[in-house]
């Protein structure tokens, strides 16, 4: 059997911070902080507001994601994977996906993880796994699933705590600039949307105050494995995501942010790869290769 040509998360800690398969930038950062953080969000959200429709469904998403990672990593990479990444994927699916049925949670978890091993360019996966899984389910199974958009009590205090805590952690992970660029861009584009639609500005601003955006901002667009490397480029991509989201929103796409990341994220990565292929010096100077 030939040597697999793909790489994925392994038990070995990664040299860069990540909200999927996170490893610390500084020694004070625990590599399992993101899983702990997202679990904390889940627990606080649930015990404050009962956000989980069902323990079983969330557990199903987590277990299917982790099992899938385990099996695919063994089959294709012959290594035991670091399951923190798949845990975050599973828990994101469990929180973000809304469906009265069970099967969408299992399929979405499996789809998210499998996408990492199948949709690869030059040995690198280009889609954020949970973004891919959820976007695919929303597009293909619109009769069976929706996403979280109306949870966590719409409560100001809970929202502020999550934003502050998330910002602190993302700051330590040196990816705050991505979140800040995205949020600032969203605000700018919300003004433009309000002007274009004639709707109250607060109604255009409203979505970002919801919990879906907290997960999206902290856990999806910051994923190091599916973001470009230069800091300035990361800001450009975050701005681009917000821009494409605005276009989709003007077309009344309910899942605009997820679809925007789905479209922009991989495109940015491919462009970066092409750029790096033509400018090997720039690659070595600005973009350390993933393990």
């Amino acid at each position: 059997m030939s040597q697999p040509t793909i790489q994925t998360d392994t038990a070995k800690p990664e040299p860069r911070s990540s909200f999927r398969g996170w490893t610390p930038v500084s020694s004070s950062m625990n590599p399992y902080l993101p899983p702990v953080f997202i679990t904390l969000i889940l627990l606080v959200g649930h015990f404050s507001f009962g956000i989980l429709e069902s323990y079983k469904k969330t557990a199903l998403a987590i277990v299917s994601s982790m099992l899938c990672e385990l099996v695919l990593s063994r089959i294709l990479v012959h290594k035991w994977p670091n399951l923190a990444s798949s845990y975050i994927t599973g828990i994101s699916v469990g929180i973000l996906l809304r469906s009265p049925g069970y099967w969408p949670y299992a399929v979405c978890g499996l789809l998210s993880i499998t996408s990492k091993y199948v949709l690869r360019v030059k040995g690198r996966h280009i889609f954020n796994p949970s973004n891919f899984g959820i976007s695919a389910m929303l597009f293909l199974a619109s009769d069976a699933v929706a996403t979280l958009s109306i949870q966590w009590g719409n409560n100001l205090a809970a929202m502020a705590v999550i934003w502050v805590l998330g910002s602190l952690i993302i700051w330590r992970a040196r990816r705050f600039h991505i979140c800040a660029t995205y949020v600032a861009s969203f605000l700018l584009f919300s003004v433009i949307r309000a002007w274009a639609t004639g709707d109250p500005w607060l109604s255009e601003f409203s979505p970002i105050t919801g919990p879906e955006y907290q997960l999206f901002t902290f856990f999806m667009i910051t994923d190091p494995k599916t973001t470009v490397k230069p800091k300035w480029a990361q800001c450009v991509v975050a701005f681009s995501i917000a821009f494409v989201e605005m276009i989709l929103r003007l077309e009344q796409s309910i899942y605009a942010p997820l679809y925007a990341l789905f479209l922009v994220g991989p495109a940015a990565l491919v462009i970066e790869m092409m750029w790096n292929a033509r400018h090997p010096f720039a690659r070595s100077a600005a973009a350390p290769a993933l393990p």
Binding site: P100, L140, L156, P200, S203
Partner: protein, 599 residues
């Protein structure tokens, strides 16, 4: 040539299979719901499903079209969404002639409610004006949202409680000849923005008490808003709605409000309520379905209520509860509870709930599991009123669901803007001025209704289109009654800004039925809360007399049981609210039994 590892090929195929799974699931669902989307001629429908429904309102002399209210101009941008309730129907034999009559509410300022007297010849005649229960929507007094009937003074005639966004009204039935307004004497509050009410005798003293569920806070006058911060603070966790009322019947036509004293203090946005003895304790428990939040289950120990929704499983996942109907769907002597919610493809899939009690004889409490998906009654669009009833007399309870929220421009949807605001912070969602204007767009409009036929094996099949239910109005209330004393359940549907529909039922010959008209003596005269456990052919079914169920509706007080073919060994155990039990044997099919509670 580079060799591709087998494992990678397998994983890729697996990935493709996962992508195809939604399509496969959709195909399977389509196969199951095929019957719902094909129309059949009456004879074929009779042969295939055992019944057929024909809309006969005009022929029956009913040409009622509901009119919606026009609230404060500050709400104009979202008026169709806010002023979207008020169509209701309740069944009552107000004149005790043995034929069910209909009371229908209207909601435009100055509009009239209608009381349709059954003329025994297949037609109805509106007598609301002459009876004094028509002109109840005068400006300044609010507008009607629904009505429930109960004989609060045990004089043998059903009295009328009218709940409104405004001043609630209690009308005493003067022996079927007229109604006298007794609101102030009874001690009713000056204003409640209510969308639900139910008569029941919570303390078993033989006098009917009354629960009223507030929706908007009671200090909000929707025609003269102090400000626009009157919307729910959250789409799923709102607790800034109207208060709840429990009016204890003191006798002598007076009521005392005792909700807080007895453990009911919720400010969730109640849209439906129902009472039934869910544990066989002899006390009626109270189930409240809330919009923008979880349902509440108040267990009644005869003296106090204890809210156990979360422990019982029904108050865990917040949805948009809009209906409470009880039905022994498995013919096992236990009530399931049907709560309707919102499902819109690609946007919001809450799914309706069919709460089926879990078997746990050792437990003194009650817990439920949601079997709506397993039993096929989960997805019903923007669902509103639903009722259980045996529509084809085959011996199992079927389910009729109406739906549809705002039907305006067919080609423009408000859903995107709705989700934009619904996900926002409470400071935004709670203020009507932050909501985008509807501008003539629909919100889950023009929806197909659902008539779910119980196959007796734990599954329901939607046959709406095949049995003649093809309307797409914005349905609100559903009430079931044997309108013409034929031994079949007819269906009456009240539509928002739409006509009152009367679906006359034709059941295929061969299936039998039995009906019970109960009258309390020690118990309340309406016999609300009395339960009949009917046994035949080795099976049994439990039904009880209701003081209001569904959404803004009340079924006929007479209990209708379908029996299927060749019913044998029929017997009935009647559990009266007083605690008395009477067993009837040697019952005959195809007959209405009028049973008075033994003294």
């Amino acid at each position: 040539m580079k060799r591709i590892p087998v494992a990678r090929i397998v994983v890729t195929l697996f990935f493709v299979g996962l992508l195809a799974t939604p399509a496969i699931m959709r195909w399977r669902l389509a196969q199951r719901t095929l019957a719902a989307h094909s129309t059949l001629d009456p004879q074929t429908s009779l042969a295939r499903h055992g019944f057929y429904l024909e809309e006969v309102s005009h022929a029956a002399g009913i040409d009622f079209v509901h009119q919606a209210p026009t609230l404060d101009a500050q709400l104009n941008p979202i008026m169709p969404e806010v002023a979207s309730m008020g169509a209701s129907v309740s069944v009552v034999d107000f004149d005790r002639d043995g034929w069910p009559d209909l009371y229908v509410t209207n909601s435009k300022e100055g509009s009239k409610n209608h009381l349709y007297r059954n003329m025994h010849d297949g037609t109805f005649k509106d007598v609301a004006e002459q009876m004094g229960v028509a002109d109840v929507n005068q400006p300044g007094t609010g507008v009607s949202m629904g009505a429930v009937w109960g004989d609060y003074d045990n004089d043998g005639y059903e009295d009328l409680f009218l709940y409104k966004w405004g001043r609630p009204e209690l009308f005493h039935n003067d022996q079927g000849h007229a109604f006298t307004r007794v609101t102030e004497q009874a001690g009713m509050p000056a204003w409640i923005n209510a969308n639900s009410a139910v008569w029941f005798d919570y303390d078993g003293d033989g006098k009917l008490d009354l629960f009223v569920g507030g929706y908007y806070p009671e200090d909000v006058d929707l025609w003269h808003l102090k400000n626009t911060r009157m919307m729910p603070e959250s789409f799923e966790y709102a607790k800034n709605g109207g208060r709840k009322y429990l009016f204890h019947n003191l006798g002598g036509g007076k009521f005392e409000e005792v909700s807080a004293k007895l453990g009911i203090s919720s400010r969730r946005w109640a849209l439906a309520a129902g009472a039934a003895d869910l544990r066989g304790t002899g006390h009626q428990d109270l189930f409240v379905a809330n919009d923008y939040g979880v349902s509440e289950l108040y267990l009644n120990d005869g003296k106090r209520f204890h809210e156990v929704g979360e422990q019982a499983g029904v108050g865990f996942a917040p949805k948009s509860g809009m209906n409470v109907a009880f039905g022994d769907v498995l013919n096992d002597g236990h009530y399931a509870v049907y709560v309707s919610n919102i499902s819109e493809n690609g946007t919001l899939i809450q799914g309706n709930n069919l709460w089926v009690p879990k078997e746990d004889p050792a437990s003194k409490t009650v817990s439920f599991e949601n079997l709506a998906r397993d039993m096929g009654v989960e997805l019903g669009g923007w669902s509103f009123g639903a009722q259980f009833g045996d529509l084809n007399n085959d011996g199992t309870l079927d389910l009729y669901l109406t739906n549809g929220y705002v039907s305006l421009d067919r080609n423009k949807s408000y859903w995107y803007d709705f989700t934009k605001i619904a996900g926002g912070n409470s400071a935004i969602i709670g203020d009507a001025k932050d909501w985008p204007a509807m501008e003539g767009r629909s919100l889950s409009g023009y929806q197909q209704k659902h008539v779910w036929l119980n196959d007796g094996a734990g599954h329901f099949v939607d046959v709406a289109q095949s049995v003649g239910v093809t309307d797409t109005y914005d349905g609100r209330a559903v009430a079931l009654a044997d309108l013409w004393n034929r031994g079949v359940l007819d269906v009456v549907v009240a539509n928002e800004r739409g006509p009152l529909l009367v679906y006359k039922n034709t059941v295929a010959p061969g299936n039998h039925w039995i009906e019970f008209s109960l009258k309390g003596s020690t118990s309340n005269r309406s016999a609300i809360g009395a339960a009949v456990e009917l046994s035949w052919n080795g099976q049994k079914q439990l039904q009880s007399v209701s003081g209001g169920s569904g959404f803004s509706a009340q079924n006929d007080r007479r209990l209708h049981f379908g029996l299927g073919k060749s019913p044998q060994a029929m017997s009935a155990i009647i559990h009266w609210p007083s605690g008395k039990v009477r067993t009837l044997t040697s019952l005959t099919a195809d007959k209405l039994y009028t049973i008075e509670e033994p003294q």
